[in-house]
């Protein structure tokens, strides 16, 4: 199924995330990735959400979002015009016989070891979702102890900003 990402600029108030996700739930939009963060303005938070479905589903989602009074602006983020990044922390078993292979892998992926103990190590990696997925797949050959990834953060390339959509 087609995946799509939208960024939603919302009023920075408690309960707003609940309003947005509640709408997703009751209208059966599946969320595949969700990140929420503060923005350049205290007045707004930014929700970046990835969902799946056809063009009709996407349009419906955007139209339903616009009906929420706390939603100020929505930007459709298509991958060609967007910088998409995720942060991954992955903890794998540190064993003498696999140490070299793990090292080569995260080197090739430009990852970084941020914690190193006798029995485990944590690798940090930044990249688009596909790179993160591929690296996790690679690590399955070793013993993965724990994974945590942030979900997508996305910005449009060039001068475009979400706030221009409605001239905020």
């Amino acid at each position: 199924m087609m995946k799509f990402t939208v960024a939603i600029l919302v009023n920075n108030q408690f309960g707003v995330l609940n309003r947005v996700t509640s709408m997703f739930r009751r209208r059966q939009f599946n969320i595949t990735s969700l990140t929420v963060s503060e923005t350049e303005s205290e007045a707004f938070s930014r929700i970046t959400v990835q969902s799946e479905g056809d063009e009709v589903k996407k349009e419906q989602l955007i139209n339903q979002l616009y009906k929420l009074p706390d939603v100020c602006s929505i930007a459709e983020l298509d991958t060609a015009d967007t910088v998409n990044r995720e942060l991954l922390l992955i903890k794998v078993k540190n064993a003498p016989q696999t140490r070299g292979d793990i090292h080569s892998a995260y080197d090739a992926y430009e990852g970084k070891v941020v914690d190193y103990t006798k029995d485990s190590l944590i690798i940090q990696m930044v990249g688009d979702s596909r790179k993160i997925d591929n690296f996790i797949d690679l690590m399955r050959d070793f013993e993965i102890l724990e994974i945590c990834r942030t979900g997508l953060v996305s910005l449009q390339r060039g001068e475009a900003t979400i706030r221009r959509v409605t001239n905020l």
Partner: protein
């Protein structure tokens, strides 16, 4: 000026043009009720028997007047008792403001006595809701709630005010006039031009409207359009009373229990021009078989309705009235004799199939009632068979005069809604109800008596939950599971008398006529216990999951 939070609430309501509020007092709104006492000459409060009744009354008031209905309830159970009323208003796009009290902010989140997270509970059934944590925000939040409730596609807004905010003293700056709704814009010109091209190419055009036509007050434009393009007109249940029932081009209600000619005309149209309607499943039947030959032009103020259930060729997001005003000059005046002949044939088929039996049949009962209705008499209904008979047979002349729970199908809606409509319009109001629905909120008889509400309650008493029974007859091998009410033995005449209302029983049409004579001359509420056979059907009927080709028009011999 410095005022308490509760005074600010009442002063802001008055400022917003509210003349009556419905509600029920309790521990966490006692300050608001003290302010209501203080301002009792400027704002009337109607005490109902139950918060649900108050919410339906605010809804009925709003549907009948077009103004925002207001309801007040205390925290906890008071607030949760509003839920069905708020949901009913939400799905039928009725402007409403609900104000609830809550425990003090210091107690919020500790499961205090009668504390409930009502903003959480009502999240999916309000346009928006507010928890007012500070008196500084109170007046502007209420103003904002009114703006939201009546702007665009109207709906309910809830404001939860903790008790300490009601008690606190804050600055209040009165505003000279109510907050206006957001300006309603027409659809984009390019879309209107494309739609006009489509409509001008139609050979079998059909105009279809819902409740949005009434909200937008676009009746004149709709009729003008119908004359220009020579189209028959149909409506959803929410559209009833939008145009006069006896308008020559009007085929009535479409859908599951719609008028035969209307449903078939829509099914066979080549262009459907829909406005202020949302194509729900009671309208389309099986969506994959709905009006397959039709190109659909869909006008709605809510862009999310365009393409939600059916895919319009032309989706026009905008105010119906303003969009039609721009669309009409682009339409070619034309005649469609072949299509009109087909419509006439469908109408003849419908007329031939109409129930022509004598005696207390649903059609004869509603037809008799029609003779008593004035130009402006509001008719409210509950939900079930009686509602569909009312929708099919009522002859209404003025807009906002059919008050019925469409989307939610709320049994128990009628008593509250009819009272709200009567109080909002100052007109004697009719409630067509059934013994099942009436049983749900009959406690509101007390409210009607206390306020001497001119209410004619026509209770179609068949001793069964008729609509469910109809399905059990047709689709469940006559397994009448929990739909027989006769063993309750309720004497509705005695019951009305016990409440202090007038009442009589009608077993024949002659008795019904006498009862209606008395009821329409009575001062307060008057209940007519009108006997209907338990095996009357609502027909036509679109079987569940069927298309208009499967429509059932007759049962048995």
């Amino acid at each position: 000026m410095k005022l308490s939070g509760s005074d600010i609430i009442i002063r802001t309501l008055i400022e917003q043009g509210v003349d009556v509020v419905f509600g029920y007092p309790g521990g966490q709104v006692i300050n608001i009720y003290d302010s209501l006492y203080k301002y009792r000459d400027e704002l009337k409060h109607v005490l109902t028997a139950h918060e649900q009744g108050a919410s339906h009354a605010a809804d009925g008031y709003a549907r009948a007047t077009g103004k925002v209905g207001v309801v007040i309830a205390t925290s906890g159970p008071g607030a949760t008792n509003l839920v069905t009323g708020i949901a009913t208003a939400y799905i039928d796009s009725v402007p409403m403001v609900a104000i609830t009290g809550n425990v003090p902010t210091t107690v919020i989140g500790t499961d205090g006595f009668q504390e409930i997270d009502i903003t959480g509970v009502t999240l999916p059934i309000t346009k928006h809701n507010y928890f007012v944590g500070s008196i500084r925000d109170l007046a502007d939040t209420i103003r904002e709630a009114f703006r939201l409730a009546k702007s665009g596609r109207p709906g309910p807004v809830l404001i939860d005010v903790p008790k300490d905010v009601q008690i606190a003293i804050g600055e209040f700056t009165p505003q000279a006039s109510p907050v206006p709704p957001d300006p309603a814009a027409p659809a984009k010109d390019i879309r209107i031009r494309q739609a006009a091209g489509c409509i001008n190419s139609a050979q079998k055009p059909f105009i279809y409207f819902g409740g949005g036509l009434i909200t937008s007050q676009a009746q004149d434009e709709l009729l003008q359009m119908a004359e220009i393009i020579d189209a028959p007109i149909g409506c959803s249940m929410m559209g009833i009373s939008g145009i006069p029932t006896d308008y020559p081009r009007f085929l009535g209600m479409q859908g599951m229990h719609g008028h035969y000619a209307c449903s078939m005309a829509m099914h066979h149209a080549d262009v459907i021009i829909a406005m202020g309607a949302r194509f729900n499943d009671r309208v389309t039947g099986d969506r994959t078989k709905f009006a397959l030959d039709a190109r659909i032009v869909h006008i709605d103020i809510d862009g999310a309705e365009l393409g939600k259930t059916v895919s319009p060729l032309h989706g026009l997001r905008g105010d119906v009235k303003k969009t039609l005003q721009k669309l009409i000059p682009l339409l070619k005046s034309t005649r469609h004799p072949a299509w009109q002949a087909e419509i006439a044939r469908l109408q003849e088929e419908e007329a031939a199939g109409l129930d022509s039996r004598e005696g207390m049949t649903p059609r004869n009962v509603i037809s008799l009632l029609n003779g008593y209705l004035g130009e402006n008499t509001p008719v409210a209904t509950d939900v079930g068979q009686h509602q569909m008979w009312a929708a099919q047979y009522l002859n209404l002349k003025a807009s906002r005069r059919f008050i019925s729970s469409g989307g939610l199908g709320t049994m128990g809606f009628g008593m509250g809604a009819a009272m709200g409509a009567a109080m909002g319009t100052g007109e004697r109001t009719v409630l067509v109800t059934g013994d099942g629905s009436f049983g749900m909120n009959l406690n509101e008889l007390a409210t009607a008596v206390a306020n001497l509400v001119p209410l004619v309650i026509l209770l179609l008493n068949n001793g069964v939950l008729g609509m469910v029974r109809q399905w059990q007859t047709l689709f469940f091998q006559k397994h009448y599971s929990n739909t027989t009410l006769t063993d309750r033995g309720t004497d509705f005449v005695k019951l009305a008398h016990a409440f202090g209302a007038q009442a009589s029983r009608a077993l024949t049409l002659e008795e019904l006529k006498e009862a209606l004579d008395a009821a329409f001359a009575a001062k307060g509420p008057y209940l007519i216990d009108c006997a209907i056979d338990k095996d009357e059907f609502v027909l036509p009927m679109l079987p569940p999951g069927g298309s208009m080709d499967d429509i059932i028009v007759k049962i048995g011999g």
